[in-house]
Symmetry: C2
Subunit: 637 residues, 2 copies
């Protein structure tokens, strides 16, 4: 017999009973307590810090934990949730910095301007009753009427509609509303007129968050929008960890549940029944796409990174558990390649790059950043493993954009004093993506770092200090913070940020080389992505996240992928355009570009190894007296 | 607490535990013991006779039973299974005459001559492996190869095929066989070449029996055929009883199970896996059609008898529980009207009536008999409630065509001695359909009955006797039979037979009037149906089952509906033809024809009220000295 152990999570007091040797992280998942875990419980990321109240009831600290946690922390009960196995009942406190938290999730995007032509339409008809002289089948009667009254040739019907059709028609006294898909397949028959009750749902499945939009299909307008963390987060924060997870059905189940959860909230908010929602459009990167559909994803993560299917997919909602009308459909937009997904296709749709003459660059920033360069004639796209730094990952005090996160930083060039702003204006507990962009820009302008990202150890400021042989810069002193610890940015953190921005920059530069264009040729830079619109475009340019084009050509477009999903929801032409985009975009595999590695090295400089490409930033640095004295080595392949 | 009662059925010794007050008929269903029940357990047909070994453990005989069973039978323990409720454990003997039995089920039909063009085709391909330079999606790779090698444009795939596609391709080293539906939708991908392993299954769902055919789709040949009683029989033998049954899902479940059972037997017999069966075609009358698909059937039985859907239906096999390849399809052929179903469409397909110039009549004999009259220019069809007499129903000693059934009868015109033949040449226990046709013909020729069907009470023969004020004629004496009872044909039985044949004849004559044609104009009479080919065509003509056309124009075509189902299985053109037939056939509702009732009365004479329509039969009777002396009243509306 095995006694169940009880685990209590504080401060919320959630309880769960588990078997022996279950990890605290697994127990937290069971209890529905959010704990950040970037590596998916492999003991690699060190993010799932918890405080165990009765350490005698768990295993002793592992070597992994001894490497990550200080001896003070260990003696205060700090442990990594994924490495801590429960022997006897315990009480666990989850500190604020380890919370996944209620993130600031951006759902706004540019307005979708498309002609209203949804797949799903409703038609009200009054049928004549059958007689011995006119005893044609109920379905024929319906089809004939739709043809005569509306001129549409229906020739298919959902099986579940035909089954009860006879009694629906008679109970409704032959006055009914018919819901038709693509003007050819009947998917619902309802008594009376319900002509104005036709809704659709557009979903953007991000690696980190889900954004959902409820639209009225008779007007094309958004009636409600909402978002949620992607529940797959529990199984690992990055794509590769999730692809490697043993049970993809489980990953599908939770992400579908998440989309259902948003929809149910939106419907309740505006008084719509989920049965009145007839169609869903879905965008997401290729891994999210495959996992949402439970399509075997393994080879997305292995060279040559081929997706299983590129085309847009139509599927019955019930087949994958999406809770809308039982005969409703899900349309998943097409992808381009293993690392350029439906979200990128949707962003191109939303920014109209595929239609216009101007040369555009799109940066859709996320854990993976997609870069697109082109116009209606030709489009190139690549994917950059920018990593989670701009989402607070791999940064010592990094966190998501939730309450208490430092989101804006300025450093006084004279005093090196720091001014910051936190989300909700509460005491800070960490720094989020937009501040992660500010920090190196501010440090460069104030001489805290040089163009190589190296901290200047000769600075005379208490904020710059060395700890365990690593330089760090204090953004907030412990008496200002809610964690009781100093919030710092370390030299390691700067390296992470440099790697992240270098990845994005390399993608942009590589596409420019491939297309043989210069900064001046680029007419517009669209910065998209949930983090996109909170980032300061100037600071992003100063750190060399993207090539130096005039700031007035830079447009923040927010969640462009979500906008594209909404366009596809209300417009069949938009779906056709998405297919065209999917076929037309040429995928550039960065790893196979000859000078990829040297370009990545060059791009890791702030803003770039070759400052002649950044004349404005050079001038600014020169003005501030921070222009590098020695020439920068430019790496060549 | 309620104790379960045990019921033992003899002689097979099957046991079942039931709760109190369950009827013996229900217990028999639970135990899987076949007991004939024409009325579906309503106490109306008196067919479910059983012997209860311990009558003290059941309810006393009901009034219904006292009306049906003699006092000798009641004291011998005879009861009606549907009226007998179980109080305590009992032993039940099911006499042979109450057995549904292993019926002689005809599956043969005329050969289906069609060009081989199945919906389902297999293609073997060897794909190139993806590289960084050629990293298109797995599905694109497959589609491109199918286009280049075979010239087919596939643009759809079954979701369940896409999900594991990546690993199937790689595990098969990119050498695979693709199964494609209609050259546009991939429904299976298998490792290696399985080009020669593609099978289909054609099913004829009769009210009484199911006939199934396993075909090799690469050759178009039948590889095995088999049949089974329609398990819906347990819920009532006639269509109206089944339509009125409370749980249509249950009726669907059992008939699908029946079709699965036949298929599984056929597959085992010839070494085919059910996964290798990709498509099923189904025919049946409109009620069977609706019940097979669980389409609400109520209004089929109510004037104006409109079907819910007329068109042919394609549905995923798994959606209705048909056990073939998980991505396989079921095609249900179209119907014409509420009482003219897909079986009739298939019979027209098989007899090619819709294609030829000759004027044809098709009689598809069953519990409901469909009559078709026409040719390629015009076709009329009607349905006649011929009832179960030709299947042994409503006949005192009637039974199905199973072992021991008298199937052939001749009466010596001098001695009135009876010669009979039984199925399997064992002792007789009842009479089946073909003998039901012989009996009145023989009786007419020997003067046992007159043209009105009335027995001649002046006959000097021990075989003709009166019992309970009803005349009856002994076909087999009790010492010859296996039941220990005389097997007789009563005056009531003759009335039933007259009603049955009158219904068929009325249908035929009504269509002839509608089409303004005479007997001589008819070039071919096709007699179809499971009972069709065992019936003596001459005797059938003598009793006036169909209009008197020269016998050489009469063709027995067996199970033509099954033949049509096979044609549709291997030929897409045949399916299109079926749709055309379904649209083209004009349904004639007999009940709305003005002189229907008088025609029915006229048709109840043997062979017919107006003997001038039966010159050959009149001549025969005249020769035998049995020509009616007084003129026959011809009824007019």
């Amino acid at each position: 017999m095995q006694l169940a152990r009880e685990v209590v999570f504080q401060p919320e007091g959630k309880r769960v009973r588990v078997r022996s040797r279950v990890s605290v992280l697994e127990a937290a998942h069971l209890a529905g307590v959010d704990i950040t875990s970037v590596c998916g419980g492999k003991g690699e990321c060190g993010k799932c810090r918890v405080v165990i109240k009765n350490v005698e009831n768990v295993n002793p600290p592992t070597d992994v934990e001894k490497g990550v946690l200080t001896s003070e922390e260990l003696s205060a009960g700090y442990r990594l949730a994924c490495r801590t196995l429960i022997n006897v009942s315990i009480v666990v406190r989850v500190p604020e910095e380890s919370r996944t938290g209620k993130q600031r999730l951006q759902v706004e995007g540019i307005e979708a301007k498309v002609k209203l032509e949804p797949s799903v339409r409703k038609y009200f008809v009054k049928l004549s009753k059958p007689t011995l002289e006119d005893s044609m089948s109920d379905f024929d009667r319906l089809v004939e009427k739709l043809w005569k009254q509306y001129g549409i040739s229906v020739f298919e019907a959902e099986y579940e509609v035909v089954k009860p059709l006879a009694s629906i028609l008679r109970n409704a006294d032959w006055k009914i509303t018919v819901t038709v898909l693509d003007d050819r397949r009947i998917i619902d028959v309802e008594p009376r007129s319900t002509m104005d009750r036709s809704f659709g749902y557009a979903v953007d499945i991000g690696t980190t968050k889900l954004a959902g939009y409820l639209l009225n299909l008779t007007t094309g307008k958004v009636v409600a929008a909402g978002s949620l963390m992607n529940p797959q987060i529990h199984y690992g924060e990055d794509i590769v960890t999730r692809i490697g997870y043993k049970d993809h059905r489980e990953l599908q189940r939770v992400v579908v549940e998440g989309t259902n959860q948003i929809l149910s909230d939106l419907c309740e908010r505006v008084g719509v029944s989920q049965e009145e929602v007839y169609e869903v459009t879905v965008v997401g990167n290729t891994a999210m796409h495959h996992l949402f559909l439970n399509i075997y994803p393994k080879y997305l993560a292995l060279s040559p990174y081929t997706p299983v299917i590129r085309q847009g997919i139509d599927i019955n909602a019930k087949e994958i558990g999406v809770k809308i009308n039982p005969n409703g459909r899900v349309h998943v937009l097409p992808v381009v390649a293993g690392f350029v997904g439906a979200d990128c296709v949707a962003a191109i749709l939303a920014t109209r790059v595929y239609k216009i003459n101007k040369l555009c660059m799109v940066l859709d920033i996320g854990t993976n950043t997609e870069v697109v360069l082109g116009n209606k004639d030709k489009m190139l796209a690549c994917s950059c493993a920018s990593g989670p730094a701009f989402e607070g990952g791999h940064i010592k005090h990094g966190m998501r954009a939730s309450s208490g996160a430092i989101e804006k930083v300025t450093i006084n060039p004279e005093t090196l004093e720091v001014k910051y702003k936190t989300i909700d204006d509460v005491k800070p507990c960490g720094i989020c993506g937009s501040a992660v962009v500010d920090v190196p820009a501010e440090m460069l302008k104030t001489g805290v770092i040089d163009v190589a990202g190296k901290m200047n150890s000769n600075l005379n400021s208490p904020r710059l200090r060395e700890k365990d042989d690593v330089l760090e810069f204090v953004l907030a002193w412990k008496n200002e913070t809610s964690t009781g610890r100093d919030i710092v940015v370390t030299q390691h953190d700067l390296r992470e940020i440099q790697l992240a921005k270098a990845a994005i920059h390399t993608g942009a530069v590589t596409l420019m080389k491939e297309a043989k264009v210069k900064e001046d040729d680029i007419d517009v830079v669209f910065i998209a992505g949930a983090f996109g619109s909170y980032i300061d475009p100037e600071n992003a340019r100063i750190i060399g996240m993207y090539p130096e084009v005039p700031l007035k050509r830079v447009k923040m477009v927010g969640n462009a992928a979500g906008t594209g999903a909404r366009m596809a929801l209300v417009s069949k032409t938009a779906r056709e355009n998405a297919e065209e985009i999917s076929r037309k975009v040429k995928y550039v595999e960065l790893a196979s570009v000859p000078d990829f590695k040297s370009e990545l090295m060059n791009s890791s400089f702030i803003p770039y190894a070759d400052l002649s490409c950044y004349p404005d930033t050079s001038q600014l640095l020169r003005k501030l007296g921070k222009f590098p004295k020695k020439s920068i080595l430019k790496f060549r392949s």
